[in-house]
Amino acid sequence: MPLTMVPLGKEAIVNVCNAKEATKKFLETLGITPGASICVISEMGGNLIVNIKGARVAINRGVAQQLMVEAC
């Protein structure tokens, strides 16, 4: 399911990223790689703040929809 479906505060596991090449690379640099645990901290109009490896990263709705995760 896309990251946008994950309820606030619930952890999920990154599965696959369908975003454009450059975005995907940047997400990977920030630690959003397959298998990483990710958690949505805050949501505003579809844009998300996530917790990834202890860092907080803002992701807009479009990217969040392309980031597939699995519930854990």
């Binding site: 640099t29 703040i49 907080r56």
Partner: protein
């Protein structure tokens, strides 16, 4: 022995604070050759005399996807600093170590600094320094730059590492990536090292980058095609084995290694998943209902303080100082010294009037820079970008455009430069065109002058409305341009949000002083020269005869030539035309020029005398149209230069300034003509 140490670290790792603590005031800010990324250099004066410190741009990785990354990487690889000091945010260690691993891959002498260790301690994170040193194979120093602790130790340890590296004893690095990748890496290295050894390359690193698919390295080292062919087959095998593309495989492999290291060396009280106090603040600050009102309140408060009572107070204070102390004293000296009248006129009417009418705004501009620094250092700036992303998307911009736009209220030059954080060229162009509509600090003196003279009862509201006008025009322009010449999808918004921090007064002070000094320097050089030139041009005619009436001067002739353009806007007199023209040198010069042209050399009680003089030439409606033109028309030469550099195209540079000036004319025209329809004059 002179050593060079380079500071490398993630954005928000406290790298700049560390740089400031090590170098003290002894720093030099310039640009990297050919680009506008800031280059800071300094000496570790307080600790050891002959150590040069280079502050490299803040980066997340050494892959070559952004200009900052390329600059940092090229510097380390080509300039070979004696030691690379890697600043890591101890409270965000896992992500920060990604860059550390890439630095390790480079095999350069490295010192790891666990900065903000106090934050990690307060959170009861336990980091086993000795174990971390063992796993990473590099010295680790805990420090807190903002508390000035551990700073000396960092430099001292780097000196030891530099000495050791000089003796040629470099420890063979242990492996970081997983065995299968390392296996292929050995194969690639076998191919590369015959060339590499002959040319003195760092073969292991080049092999790694080639295997990772780094095009920049492939080009830079002119790798022969037969090697490329073998390389391709290795890469295909790797991708097949992991069923993923190469970048993902490498990033994943590095992060897996980091996880293993973290597991053994870091004990987190909260774990990674608990909510920190910063998250709790974010629940409120980015709350879907509260976020926008909170954002608007903060912006309004900043404007109120800067342009309201406190701001006006500082203006009166400097004004009094300039006209009584400075001009009065100078005039007495000049009279006592029996100086020629023309020279007295130059000093008092030209220089003091010109500089004085502008310098009064220095404290106010500093105040604005203080708030911008405050927003940045607390971490709110990044949240504002996040909050504004959705709205900006409707204008064809992304949340990242917000930061250049906000900086635009300070100065257009850094604002335009900040647009480089936008990845997409289209987004960048649009941001650059719209940023100058955010009224910069230098335009403030113009509004302050006119508002005081014509709207004395509600100065604050009038000035605020001019700022709003700039914003509204930017919004409409965004919608217009994204549907015409700048079509296309807006780049995604992915941005790290630093935890909220309580800024240090020292950090804010440095930030503010830097900007303020730049402004005063500009006043001392460009504006000084402009004031002298304007005085000359308005005192002499084309046959270099001193004129009685400035209208007969060279400047008068120039002004009269272009004045008709502004007649439909309500200010078709030559003095206004000249002021707007000289405003292209720097916007503060508009006020300075009016000061000189209205002959305020005879020192009066206040510079606001100028306002009284202006009342003879302007009405409130004309004054408002003039202010509207000022906020919108093409920015000063310095900002124009920045636009050219960032656009990297003359065509787009002229589209930008042409659009801005055209819009300025139309808006001022509408204000004046519609105002007249309603019976104003």
């Amino acid at each position: 022995m002179t050593y060079t140490f380079a500071l490398v670290g993630n954005p928000n790792s406290g790298k700049t604070t560390m740089f400031n603590e090590i170098t003290g005031a002894a720093q030099h800010v310039g640009n990297w050759p050919g680009v506008t990324v800031e280059k800071k250099e300094g000496k570790a004066r307080k600790i050891k005399e002959d150590v040069k410190i280079i502050d490299l741009p803040g980066i997340y990785s050494l892959s070559p996807y952004s200009l900052e990354e390329i600059i940092a990487r090229d510097y380390i690889v080509d300039e070979k600093p004696d030691v690379v000091i890697n600043i890591v945010d101890a409270s965000n260690i896992e992500r920060n170590l990604y860059l550390t691993l890439q630095l390790k891959e480079l095999g350069v002498p490295l010192v790891l600094v666990l900065n903000m260790i106090d934050v990690a301690d307060a959170r009861k994170d336990r980091i086993d320094i000795n174990e971390l040193e063992k796993y990473l194979g590099i010295p680790v120093i805990p420090a807190s730059a903002s508390k000035n602790s551990g700073v000396r130790e960092v430099v001292e340890k780097a000196l030891v590492v530099a000495e050791t590296a000089k003796t040629g004893f470099v420890k063979k690095d242990h492996k970081v990536l997983d065995d299968i990748i390392e296996g292929y890496l050995d194969e690639v290295e076998k191919l590369i090292s015959p060339i590499g050894n002959a040319k003195g390359w760092n073969s292991r690193w080049i092999s790694l980058k080639l295997l990772e698919g780094d095009e920049k390295v492939k080009e830079k080292y002119h790798i022969p095609t037969n090697i490329i062919k073998d390389l391709k087959s290795f890469q295909e095998k790797l991708e097949k084995h992991y069923e993923n593309d190469l970048e993902t495989v490498f990033a994943d492999s590095r992060y897996k290694y980091i996880s293993r290291v973290i597991e053994k060396t870091v004990k987190k009280q909260l774990g990674n998943s608990g909510l920190t106090w910063s998250d709790k603040v974010d629940r409120i600050v980015t709350n879907r209902i509260l976020a926008i009102p909170l954002f608007l309140s903060i912006m309004y408060a900043i404007f109120q303080i800067t342009f309201g009572a406190i701001g006006s107070f500082t203006i009166d204070w400097v004004d009094g100082f300039m006209s009584d102390a400075v001009a009065g004293t100078l005039l007495r000296w000049l009279e006592a010294g029996g100086v020629a009248e023309w020279l007295r006129a130059l000093v008092i009417d030209g220089i003091v009037a010109g500089l004085g009418s502008m310098l009064v705004f220095v404290p106010q501009i500093m105040l604005l820079f203080f708030f911008l620094a405050l927003l940045e250092d607390t971490g709110y700036m990044a949240r504002a970008a996040f909050i504004m992303d959705r709205f900006l998307r409707k204008l064809g911009l992304s949340g990242k455009s917000f930061i250049p736009m906000l900086l635009g209220f300070g100065c257009g030059v850094p604002a335009v430069m900040a647009s480089r954080t936008l990845e997409s060229e289209k987004d960048r162009r649009l941001t650059i065109i719209l940023t100058p509509f955010m009224s910069c600090g230098a335009k403030l003196p113009v509004y302050a002058l006119f508002a005081a003279a014509f709207f004395s009862n509600n100065q604050g509201a009038i000035i605020f409305s001019i700022y709003v006008l700039g914003i509204v025009i930017a919004i409409l322009s965004g919608i217009l341009l994204k549907n015409s010449i700048l079509k296309g999808e807006v780049a995604p918004f992915v941005m790290e949000l630093p935890p909220y921090r309580i800024p240090t007064l020292k950090g804010l002070g440095i930030h503010m002083a830097e900007r303020g000094m730049a402004f005063i320097k500009k006043a001392g050089t460009i504006i000084f020269a402009a004031a002298v030139m304007i005085w000359f041009l308005q005192s002499f005619d084309f046959s270099v005869q001193m004129v009685e009436d400035p209208a007969d001067s060279i400047l008068g002739a120039m002004g009269k030539a272009i004045a008709p353009i502004f007649a439909p806007l309500g200010f078709g007199d030559w003095k206004s035309a000249v002021a707007l023209l000289t405003g292209l040198i720097a916007k503060e010069v508009v006020v300075a020029t009016l000061g000189i042209l209205y002959g305020l050399g005879e020192v009066g009680e206040e510079v606001t005398q100028l306002g009284v003089a202006l009342q003879t030439a302007f009405t409130p409606l004309k004054a408002y149209a003039f202010m509207a033109f000022t906020v919108l028309y093409m920015p000063c030469i310095a900002a124009f230069g920045a636009i050219k550099r960032e656009m990297n195209s003359w065509k787009w540079t002229f589209i930008a300034v042409g659009y801005q000036t055209g819009i300025a004319w139309i808006v001022a025209f509408l204000i004046y003509q519609i105002g007249r329809l309603f019976g104003l004059s």
